[in-house]
Structures are given as C-alpha cells and as structure tokens.
Symmetry: C2
Subunit: 257 residues, 2 copies
Amino acid sequence: MGTTQLETVPEPKYWHLKTVLSEALDTDFSVGEILPNERDLAARFGVARATLRQALEQLELEGRLHRRRGVGTTVAPPRMGVDVSTSQHTWPGTADDVWQSADCTTGTFAAAPAAVGRMFTASVDGELHTVRRTRMTHGQPVAAELLYVPAASVPELPAIEATSGPVRARSVLRELQRLGLDGQDRAVELGSARADDAKELDRLPGAPVLVVTTRYFVGGRTAAVSVATYRADTCRLTFGDSGDLEISHHGPAAHAS
Amino acid sequence: MGTTQLETVPEPKYWHLKTVLSEALDTDFSVGEILPNERDLAARFGVARATLRQALEQLELEGRLHRRRGVGTTVAPPRMGVDVSTSQHTWPGTADDVWQSADCTTGTFAAAPAAVGRMFTASVDGELHTVRRTRMTHGQPVAAELLYVPAASVPELPAIEATSGPVRARSVLRELQRLGLDGQDRAVELGSARADDAKELDRLPGAPVLVVTTRYFVGGRTAAVSVATYRADTCRLTFGDSGDLEISHHGPAAHAS
C-alpha cells in the first residue's frame, strides 16, 4: 500500500530545478565560486525561493554545494576519498596512525552513550578511558573520534601521571598496543554532528555526518570501541582494494594498484 | 577564523529539545508508537513549532524517528545491520547473492552518470549494460542497485535473446561470473535518493541515502561498477570482522565470532 501511495506522489517541485542547477554547476560555474544570492537565483530560474532553497539543500546533501554562514553558497570540489580500511584503523597509536590525540578523560561506563556501553561484554563496572582524537587530511580536520577503552583493557596503565590531557591519551594508546589484537569489525551509518564534534570539524551542530564505529577484539572480547565522526559533505569513505575474495581461486589475486 | 566564528555561534535552540526528546523516546514511548501531533508536542515541551520540527528532523537523521506521509511520526526500531563486506558484494550473481535482478537495459556510456563513466579506464566507446537489482532484508527493500557492465567485459553475451528485462539481467550476471575477479574496492558516501530509487525503497525523492560504489577489477581494469543506494534511516552498513591485520604477528588471528 505504501508503494501505491508513493506512486501517486508526484515528483517534488524542486526536483527538476535540482537537475537543471546541477548541470549549470558543471557548465557555468567553477569550483569555489560563490553562487548568486537566493533572490537572484530564484529570479534567474523562475522559481519561488522556497523551491530554490529545497534544491540547494539537496545539492548540498549530494556534496555539490557548500553553504557556510557568512560566506554564502559555493561550488564544492569533488569529495575527498578518505581511507577507512583496516590499515587506517589499526590499533590506535601505531606509527603510521593518521589520528592525532587531543585529550583523555576517565569516567564511568554510565557516562558513555548507552549504545557504546552495550558493545562491551564485560567489565562495565569499572572505569572507562575516553581518548579524543582528530584526523587531519591536507591540513583540514575530516573526522573527530572518541575512543573508549575500559580500564580493564589496559591494567598496567601508570597511575602516577596526569589523569587527563594528551600525555595521558598517548599512555592509553601505548598500553593498547601491548595487546594482541584479534580482529575488528566496522559499521557506517548516518548521524548528525554533536556540538563538540561540529566545532572540531568546522561545521554547525546537527550537520549530517558519517559515523564509523569500530570494535577492537582481544581474546574474543571487545577491548576498545572507536566512534569516528566524518564530515559527510566533503568525505567519501573508501575501503581500499580487497583481493582476498572467496572466489580468488579463479586466478591469482593480482591487486590492481 | 572559521573556528573562532563557530565558537561564538550558540548551540541552536532545538539542540536541548532534541536531547530531552531523545530521552523521552527511551522512557515514555515504545518502538512503532505514533508520536502526538506537532502542535501537542510543541505545547508539551513549551517550544515553538519551528523549533520542534528542527528537533524532529534531527532525530530522524539519527534514525530515532520515522516520518511518513499519511502515517505520522513513529518511534523507529534500532537500525538494521546490513552486511556490505566483500562476501556480500562478490561477483554479482553468485549462488549466495542477496540481490534480486529486476531489469537490464543497454545503452551508451554517455547515458550513464559522468562519475560512473570516469571509473572505466577503457572501452567507453562501446555499449554499456545496466542491470537494476534490489536487495531485500526481512521482506523489506533496503537497497537499490545499478550495476554497470561494459559490453566489452562480457563479449560472449548471447545476442539472440531479449535485450532487456530480468532474463537479460541474469545472462549478463552469468557472463560476469566467467571472468576471474582480481579484486574490488568500495566507497561509501552520503547522497539523496533519486526518484526511481526512492520509489523502490518506499521513500520520498531526496531522502538521505548511503551510496556504496564498488569497482570490480579484472586484469587490472575496471570490469564493472555497482552503485548501490541504501536507506540511511533504517540501515547501518557493517563490514564484518577482519582478522587479516598488519599487526596480526602479535598473536594468532583468532576471529571473534
């Protein structure tokens, strides 16, 4: 019934405009160029401003436009491919880690989001370290991460030093690397930027983001959980080439590079 | 400067409301329950309707609410984990394939989106087969796919049979499976549902979607490209456990199952 109902819903008014605008972006504008203001654009295409605004929102969702307060609407460059494959999400803190540690705080499991707490199968009574990190690409912050590490995962963490700050963050990461990582799994979903992440990513709170959640397994248990918030406007998350296919018996796994 | 500017931007009005509403969803409502109408909700929380609407939009983006024309706003169940790891995106058409072929059309490369055309390194002068498929989970369509296969990739495709429709789609897939797949890469990005995909996914055009683009390599060349549009409201894309880590020399790669 839902389908029947949808069939009778006409295409929204702004839809055709969006297509026309999209073509105009290709032919009449260059990357970084500031678009005329909404009133002029609406007049140029002969549409109401509300319709225009919907089309602009759509193009922003598709990464074709950037809209920034005080700057206006600019033509976006193609999205950056940001590698989120296993090699970029190894045990946090390894030498080739693309993440920069900013801070570390320690609290209870209750203070973490409920969804994060549920991912830990054990030790939810103890303390939880939260390492805040940032991922930079070409000098721009592309992702903000909260890395949750139960105190039970890093029992040999020195107790004498500072209990927060970047030094503490590095200590937690160093302890993590002493563990033998069994594997990890990852999920990607749509989210909206929390106020603190938004600030770090130079976005407004509520902006659409891609949330990558990674569970790190040690000894069959979840030893750490990373919740990384990527800018959805500028990033395309890439998962690299996987040559280890089930059907690789058809021939040698010659990776295309 | 951008950062300084953002620091002075106060949290949007609806932000606190969103948090309060989110907690109310956990405690006062159950999954599938229809929320009171906007006027009643606005009165209950003592906010303007515009503020309420922004908070509801935010919660929809985060997958907490479903809003459907003619039904109203309901409390969403937790998002489904939908496996998009290599094993679910093997050569299209293998026995355990979760995708259902619906149609196949043949045209020129020029008719395909420019971004798709650029992914093929060769043979862009010939014809291009486009197979349309749907992925079902628990009887619900969760993704719509366009699989682009250059005619040059499947030279032995029988010419005598129907040139479109599901039978043709199966023939194209059968020919693909004769090729030795070297590897694949995958990217995930935010998009908005095209009208045809939206209809198939029971959404309105322009709804936010997660677009998974997969390139299939044969002999160092791109032999096929899949553009799969997943519902962003109901799906969490999962990438399975990867035990094949660079640091697996720390210990045996015992996959957590």
